[in-house]
C-alpha cells in the first residue's frame, strides 16, 4: 500500500509519480471465504475493513456487480448529520459523527470531512414545536443543537430570501454545528484501500445472482464467475436488497425509488454551511464552488437510475423560494440513484431467519453519513452473530414485534 503521508507524497513527487502502486489488488476469487459481503458501496467496504481491523476476520470477500462506490455511495449529496427524530437513530448517528472526525487519520486517506454545520429552516408552527422537542432528545444524546431566530439564521446564511411577504415565512431555524460533508468517492476508496491492506479481497464486475442455503443455513453465493462458499454472507446492496433477499425466500419492507441530485455551475464562496428546507430542498457548496442540491425522491418506484423531470421542477421551485438570488444560476449536471426506502425510513441492520445471512440495507436517502458507524456495527453483528443494544432497534423483527422505528428526518418523500 502506498503511503499518503506528507513524506510519502514528497518521495513519489521526486520519483515523477511513476512508482505509485495500485491502491488495492484485483485478486482472483478463492473457493471459500469466512465472510462474503455483497455490495462494494461504503457500507460493504467499511464492514469488511472493520471485520479485518477490529475482529481479526481477514478471509473476507467483497463483491460488486459494478465498480467500487458506483451505487448510491458515489451518487449522494454527502450530508453528514445526527439531527434525527428517534432516540436510537440520534445516538447511532452521534457515534457516527465521532467516527467521521477521526476517519481520515484512521484510514490514512483524506476523506475531506468538513464539519461546517447544518441550518434547517423552520417554516411552520408545527415544525417549530417538533424541533423544540427534538432539541431535548438531541441534548440527551449529547449532540449540540440550537434554535435560532430568523435574524440569526440570515446572519449565518446571508443569501437567504430577505424578510417580506411570502407564503411560508422563515419562523426560526435550527443549528446543528457538528454536521458536515465529506468526499463520497474518497470514503469508498479509503475503506477499500485499508481493507485490501489487511488482506480483504475486493472483486468488482462480479454480480451475485443468488444466495445458496442448505438446511436453513447460508452456504455461499452464486456469482457471475461461479459458486463461492462462505461461512457467513452480509448483504449491503441498497436498491437490490429485495432482489437478493428473494433468492433466500425473504421479503423485505423495502421499496426501490429514484432519488436525484443536482449541481450548479461553480460560484464564488457564498454558503458556508449545509442548508436544509425540510422535505423540500437542501444544499451545500462544494470545494469547487458548485452548489450540490438535493430534494425529495421521485413519486414512482423504479430501479432505473434516471429521474423524473417533474421532480427537478419541484426542487428548483422550492430552492428559488428560499434563495431568490440563485434565479439565474445554471444547473450543470443532474443524476439519479436508486434508493432502498424502508417502510419506516429506518435502516435494517439485522440477522435474518436464514442462519449466517445478515442485512445492512434500507438506508434510503440517508446512508452515506452512516458508512463508518454502520460498517462498524455490521462487522460487529457478523462477527458476534448477535446484535448489540445500539442496533437492536434496527432489527428486521421490529415489524413483527410492532416496533417500527418511524423517522421523519430523511430527504425522502415520506417526510
Amino acid at each position: 500500500m502506498g503511503d499518503y503521508s506528507f513524506f510519502g507524497l514528497l518521495r513519489h513527487a521526486f520519483a515523477g509519480h511513476a512508482e505509485w502502486p495500485r491502491a488495492w489488488r484485483d485478486p482472483p476469487l478463492k473457493p471459500h471465504y469466512d465472510v462474503v459481503v455483497v455490495g462494494a458501496g461504503g457500507h460493504g467496504l467499511a464492514a469488511a475493513y472493520y471485520l479485518a481491523a477490529r475482529h481479526g476476520i481477514r478471509n473476507v470477500l467483497v463483491l460488486d456487480k459494478g465498480w467500487i462506490g458506483g451505487g448510491n455511495t458515489g451518487r449522494n449529496t454527502v450530508t453528514i448529520r445526527a439531527n434525527y427524530l428517534r432516540e436510537p437513530s440520534i445516538r447511532f448517528h452521534a457515534e457516527g459523527l465521532r467516527m467521521w472526525r477521526e476517519l481520515s487519520g484512521a484510514l490514512g486517506f483524506n476523506v475531506m470531512f468538513s464539519e461546517r454545520g447544518q441550518l434547517d429552516l423552520i417554516q411552520t408552527w408545527a415544525k417549530l414545536r417538533d424541533v423544540k422537542r427534538r432539541r431535548s432528545t438531541m441534548a440527551l444524546a449529547g449532540v449540540p443543537f440550537d434554535i435560532l431566530t430568523p435574524a440569526q439564521a440570515r446572519a449565518r446564511v446571508p443569501i437567504l430570501a430577505p424578510e417580506g411577504p411570502t407564503r411560508l415565512p422563515i419562523l426560526a431555524a435550527t443549528w446543528h454545528p457538528t454536521a458536515g460533508v465529506a468526499r463520497h468517492d474518497a470514503v469508498a476508496w479509503g475503506y477499500a484501500r485499508a481493507a485490501d491492506a489487511l488482506g480483504v479481497d475486493i472483486v468488482q464486475n462480479c454480480e451475485v445472482r443468488a444466495i445458496r442455503r442448505a438446511g436453513g443455513r447460508v452456504t455461499g453465493v452464486e456469482t457471475a464467475r461461479g459458486f463461492v462458499a462462505a461461512g457467513k454472507v452480509g448483504l449491503a446492496v441498497s436498491a437490490h436488497a429485495g432482489v437478493l433477499a428473494a433468492s433466500a425466500d425473504l421479503r423485505l419492507p423495502i421499496e426501490t425509488v429514484p432519488l436525484q441530485a443536482f449541481v450548479s455551475e461553480p460560484l464564488k464562496p457564498m454558503l458556508s454551511c449545509i442548508v436544509n428546507c425540510p422535505g423540500q430542498v437542501y444544499l451545500s457548496q462544494t470545494d469547487k464552488g458548485e452548489l450540490a442540491i438535493g430534494g425529495g425522491s421521485d413519486p414512482v418506484p423504479s430501479y432505473v437510475q434516471r429521474g423524473d423531470f417533474a421532480t427537478i421542477e419541484r426542487v428548483v421551485t422550492a430552492l428559488l423560494e428560499i434563495f431568490p438570488v440563485l434565479a439565474r444560476v445554471r444547473l450543470l449536471r443532474q443524476w439519479t440513484g436508486a434508493i432502498d426506502l424502508c417502510h419506516d425510513t429506518s435502516p435494517i441492520l439485522s440477522k435474518t431467519p436464514v442462519e449466517g445471512l445478515y442485512l445492512d440495507v434500507g438506508w434510503g436517502s440517508g446512508g452515506f453519513k452512516a458508512i463508518p458507524a454502520g460498517g462498524a456495527a455490521f462487522a460487529r453483528l457478523i462477527a458476534n452473530d448477535a446484535p448489540d443494544d445500539a442496533i437492536l432497534p434496527f432489527a428486521l423483527s421490529r415489524f413483527e414485534s410492532g416496533r417500527p422505528l418511524y423517522e421523519t428526518a430523511g430527504a425522502s418523500n415520506r417526510d
Partner: protein
C-alpha cells in the same frame, strides 16, 4: 415528460396520476401479518401497479410497467 397510458384517456402526462405501487391485498391469513402489511416483492422487471388518474378520468387502474426500464407494457 413521462407519459402514462390511461385506458380511457389515452397517453397522459405522469403528473396527472398518483402511483400507489405494488398492490397490497388485505391480510387474509395466508401470510404472517407483519409480512402481509409491510413486506414488498419490489420486483426488478415487469410489475403490475395500482395507479389513480387523479387529474383525468379519476379511475383506479392496474398498469403493467417494467421497473428496470420504466417502459409501460400492454
Amino acid at each position: 415528460m413521462r407519459l402514462v397510458p390511461c385506458p380511457t384517456c389515452g397517453p397522459r402526462e405522469a403528473g396527472e396520476f398518483v402511483c400507489f405501487g405494488e398492490p397490497r391485498p388485505r391480510p387474509d391469513g395466508t401470510r404472517p401479518l407483519a409480512e402481509a402489511i409491510y413486506a414488498r416483492d419490489n420486483l426488478k422487471g415487469p410489475v403490475a401497479e395500482l395507479w389513480w388518474h387523479r387529474a383525468g378520468c379519476r379511475r383506479w387502474l392496474t398498469l403493467r410497467r417494467n421497473s428496470a426500464t420504466n417502459a409501460f407494457v400492454e
